[in-house]
């Protein structure tokens, strides 16, 4: 059996446009004045069919519209992509079709259209529940707009998640606890809670490098916030199933779990990445990032760069890096099959003694403390 089957098979569609660029965001997003959606429908379809021809006999577990701001897509555009995917692959009975939405009033007006197109889960980028911080994060919506949009989404969809960013400038532990309780009272069954990360090549990254991004919490304070977040969400019945994701058991994002369980996924659209197993060999795929260049490359017959075969070492690292993010942990038997060797007992004992990992049957799981320093844990596990 090919290893990807342990994780499932999904489709990621990247919509590369936003109304404004957020200062913390390093995703592939562009601000343009006019978008001809019919051109995009055509390109998505062409590219889907090209990849689909390489991957017959697959059952599609999920579709995810990410961006950019996919809630700028016309519902017909979304419907066209979903229809095309259905022509190519049979859908699993419980297929999850998610779309990331900006919580503004205009977007809310399109929610019913997305539902009719086949979307069954919305993930909203609310980011903060206070206006001053939303402004600092460069968001174009207000808290009241977000709450309204959220109510519209709830009316249209059974499954609605939203994102918050914390460990923000000037944020105290108390303030965050308060905001989190507020969020949990709104939440249905899923929340994504990200600590603010300063990425190179973003406006925040530049400001940080110039020493102009003040009052960020210290690492110790951020660690306290992280651990408090885990506790509070546990108590509310939304335990962390991944580093930054919380869900009522059963309501986890199926699409994202394909990544973390190291399944196969098709990436369509500018800058989209994929992992595809062809003839028993796992490949990574990547598309050109600039929207115009991507459209052109699709027109010329190929919307991705040449596929790269992943080495055994690369696959071992990716499987572990992704798997250790999950509360269910890393499947050590699968690690053994991928790498040809088991994890070093002395490394495991050392990390266990430090309280960073625990063994649960054949799985290796990071503890809450271990998840807060997962990069160090991974470096330890991956070096001999």
């Amino acid at each position: 059996m090919d290893d990807w089957r342990n994780g499932g098979f999904g489709l990621y569609v990247h919509w590369p446009f936003c109304q404004a660029k957020c200062p913390y965001c390093d995703f592939n997003s562009h601000v343009v004045s006019r978008i001809d959606q019919s051109v995009w429908v055509k390109a998505y379809r062409t590219e889907l069919r090209r990849i689909g021809d390489m991957l017959p006999d697959r059952l599609l577990n999920s579709i995810f519209f990410g961006g950019g701001t996919p809630s700028l897509m016309h519902p017909d555009t979304v419907a066209a992509v979903i229809e095309t995917a259905r022509d190519i692959w049979p859908f699993a009975n419980d297929i999850e079709i998610s779309l990331e939405a900006n919580p503004g009033s205009v977007e809310a007006g399109r929610f019913a259209g997305y539902r009719d197109a086949g979307v069954n889960r919305i993930s909203m980028g609310i980011q903060a529940l206070n206006d001053e911080d939303l402004r600092r994060l460069g968001r174009i919506h207000s808290v009241s707009e977000a709450r309204t949009a959220f109510d519209v989404a709830r009316a249209c969809f059974d499954r609605v998640s939203f994102d918050l960013i914390y460990a923000r400038q000037g944020q105290t532990l108390e303030a965050w606890n308060h905001e989190l309780s507020d969020a949990l009272s709104m939440a249905i069954d899923h929340l994504s809670l990200y600590q603010l990360t300063i990425e190179d090549g973003t406006a925040f990254g530049d400001r940080y490098a110039r020493g102009k991004l003040r009052d960020l919490p210290t690492d110790d304070n951020a660690a306290d916030m992280y651990l408090a977040t885990q506790d509070i969400c546990d108590r509310h019945g939304l335990p962390g199933y991944e580093i930054s994701n919380h869900a009522r058991p059963g309501a986890e994002s199926r699409h994202n779990q394909i990544y973390w369980r190291y399944g196969d996924y098709v990436g369509i659209g500018p800058g989209a990445h994929g992992r595809l197993t062809l003839n028993g060999k796992r490949h990574s795929t990547e598309a050109l990032r600039a929207p115009g260049a991507w459209l052109e490359s699709v027109e010329k017959g190929q919307g991705t760069l040449p596929f790269l075969a992943l080495s055994q070492e690369d696959q071992v690292v990716e499987h572990m890096m992704m798997g250790m993010r999950l509360h269910e942990g890393l499947d050590m038997d699968r690690h053994m099959l991928l790498s040809g060797q088991s994890l070093s007992d002395s490394k495991l004992s050392m990390l266990q003694d430090l309280g960073m990992v625990e063994r649960v049957g054949s799985r290796l799981r990071a503890t809450a403390n271990g998840r807060a320093v997962l990069n160090s844990v991974l470096r330890e596990l991956l070096t001999d």
């Binding site: 990621y12 930054s244 994929g274 990574s284 990716e318 890096m321 997962l374 470096r379």
Partner: protein, 599 residues
């Protein structure tokens, strides 16, 4: 052979970046010595490290033919010298080989420390000095101010300083004329017994050792049998030539001329800078004055980061030593670092240059341990031992007393910074020997322990005086003092490579500073790490590095997998560059940085 009156020998004195090499290039180019198609930037600097740092370590030389305005044909010999205090002796020999200097000062910057140290060497050598103001093409150029500064600070007449842009070629002709008209011709007796000064030497893979010489008296010809007056070694000369800057064979070199010889000399070690070369028969009676044997004064350990590269390191060190007589080495074993070499250097820059060359030319990652001087241990049984490495310090009960090397340091500094300099010298256990004034500049002479100087004294001096101090020193012998070995424990494990010798009265202060430094240098781990300094079994300072609590990627989805994997691969490679002590990883640079004192 050239008539003495048609020869001019000169050096160029300049601070780093003031345009010495560009000016040299332009002089060579404008006289047609090198065809344009063969020009490359900084012709004289052969090694990459020199080119990158803009410093010259070996003396380089070039012979330039020049037809002057008086219609006569002149031979101009330029010797380009190292400019750093580590190589003060080598510089002094090069200076003795020429009669004049161009003092090049960046007209946008003014006189700086290194300029001073070297211009005083030129003055010591009785040079005629022609000031050259460079970079006059730049808008920030302030020729009048800088000329005034040269007069005030250095005390030489700068009213007829030549204004040059080596970059655009302005003033190059005037510079060449000044060399001919303002610098004296060399003197020397063609019929006297041969006396040639050995200015420098280096190893060439095809020709063996090449010796750079300046003929003072007599004539040197091919096939001459020669004798080195200091070492007594004898050789037959098999090649004589000059540098233009490529080698060009000539029949003979006469008085005043500068050129090279090869004589089947196997190792650079067999040649001593400053030695006098004469004929085996009917040779000179007395050698040229000023010879000093080169003695390493700073020692440190060099270890391969990857212990499997020990043999490669041995190979690299042996090859470098062939070309550098002032560099010594012997094998060393460290409990913490494994197999490596204890190496001796002329100073810190010399150390850095050798280390960089090993890393770059031989592609070996190195751990460099703290530099140390040579201590004399007087044992109770009357024996005297030389201690090159604090880790080798024997049981104190067997040691009667210990002596450390002292230097006489001369520092020239503008009045404004005098207080800071005095404080620095006092902090480094200095004893003031003299303090006098020359205009607005003070000359301070201190008796200092070398171990307080070898490490970062020069950097600190530059920093507290904003680069306006010049510094030179000479060894004045050994003296007893109350020195102890301070060891460092990281997570309760002794790290022998961090052991240092310190004065008893300053041990606690130094120990504290070192623990604090290490706390910053060692990355946080998943557990807390005690860092201690101890003398014998007694802990004198302690810091605790708290445990790492946050190190996680908040978002990692399908689109991030490749990038995050590559990042992790990079971090894994970085981790391999650290040294493991028990469960603690110490980055390589910590072994040097931990000792830097910010005072």
């Amino acid at each position: 052979m050239t008539e003495l009156s048609k020869i001019r020998n000169f050096s160029i004195v300049a601070h780093i970046d003031h345009g010495k090499s560009t000016l040299a290039d332009r002089l060579i180019q404008s006289t047609g010595t090198v065809q344009d198609r063969d020009m490359k930037e900084q012709l004289l600097d052969a090694m990459d490290i020199e080119r990158e740092r803009g410093i010259t370590i070996k003396a380089n030389t070039v012979r330039i033919d020049y037809e002057a305005d008086d219609g006569e044909h002149y031979v101009l010999n330029l010797i380009d010298t190292p400019g750093h205090v580590d190589f003060a002796y080598e510089v002094s020999r090069s200076m003795r080989a020429v009669e004049g200097s161009l003092l090049v000062v960046d007209s946008t910057q003014g006189v700086e420390a290194q300029t001073l140290a070297n211009v005083y060497q030129a003055i010591d050598a009785d040079h005629e000095i022609v000031p050259v103001l460079n970079k006059i093409d730049l808008p920030a150029s302030e020729c009048d101010r800088v000329a005034e500064q040269i007069e005030d600070v250095i005390g030489i007449d700068a009213s007829d300083a030549i204004r040059v842009s080596a970059k655009t070629g302005i003033g190059i002709k005037e510079t060449l004329e000044a060399i001919v008209t303002r610098l004296p011709a060399p003197t020397g007796e063609r019929d006297a017994p041969l006396r040639a000064m050995l200015v420098d030497s280096w190893y060439d893979a095809y020709l063996g050792v090449i010796v750079l010489v300046r003929i003072m008296d007599g004539v040197l010809k091919k096939n001459d049998q020669i004798k080195m007056m200091q070492t007594g070694a004898r050789y037959g000369v098999d090649r004589i030539g000059v540098f233009r800057p490529a080698m060009q064979v000539v029949d003979e070199l006469g008085p005043g001329e500068i050129g090279f010889i090869t004589a089947s000399i196997k190792q650079v070690r067999d040649t001593k800078v400053g030695d006098t070369i004469t004929h085996e028969r009917k040779g000179a009676e007395t050698a040229l004055p000023g010879f000093k044997p080169s003695v390493p004064v700073v020692f440190c350990g060099l270890f391969p980061v990857d212990s499997s590269e020990f043999e490669d390191l041995r190979d690299a060190i042996e090859k470098l030593a062939l070309n550098d007589a002032s560099f010594s080495y012997e094998m060393e074993t460290s409990a913490a670092l494994g197999f490596g070499f204890r190496c001796g250097f002329l100073g810190l820059l010399h150390l850095e240059v050798i280390r960089d060359r090993i890393e770059r030319e031989y592609n070996i990652d190195l751990i460099t341990t703290a530099p140390s001087v040579v201590y004399h241990l007087f044992m109770k049984d009357g024996e005297m031992l030389e201690l090159h490495n604090p880790a080798d310090m024997p049981d104190l009960s067997k040691v009667d007393h210990l002596e450390e090397p002292r230097i006489k340091a001369t520092i020239l500094v503008p009045d404004d910074y005098l207080g800071d300099v005095l404080k620095l010298c006092q902090d480094r256990r200095g004893i003031q020997m003299d303090l006098s004034y020359a205009g607005s500049r003070a000359m301070v002479v201190y008796d200092l322990p070398l171990n307080e100087v070898v490490f970062d004294f020069y950097d600190r001096l530059k920093s507290v005086t904003k680069g306006y101090a010049s510094f030179d020193y000479q060894m004045i012998g050994y003296r007893e003092d109350n020195l102890v070995k301070m060891s460092v424990l990281v997570n309760d494990e002794p790290v022998d490579a961090l052991s240092t010798m310190v004065h008893r009265d300053r041990a606690e202060q130094r120990g504290r500073a070192m623990c604090e430094k290490l706390k910053d240098l060692i990355p946080r781990h998943m557990f807390k790490i005690p860092i201690q300094a101890a003398i014998g079994g007694k802990v004198i300072a302690r810091e605790t590095l708290s445990a790492l609590r946050k190190d996680v990627t908040a978002k990692c989805y399908g689109g991030d997998a490749t990038r995050k994997r590559k990042l992790l691969d990079k971090q894994k490679a970085g981790k391999k560059k650290m040294r493991q002590f028990g469960r603690v990883e110490i980055p390589q640079e910590a072994f040097i940085s931990a000792l830097k004192m910010d005072d």
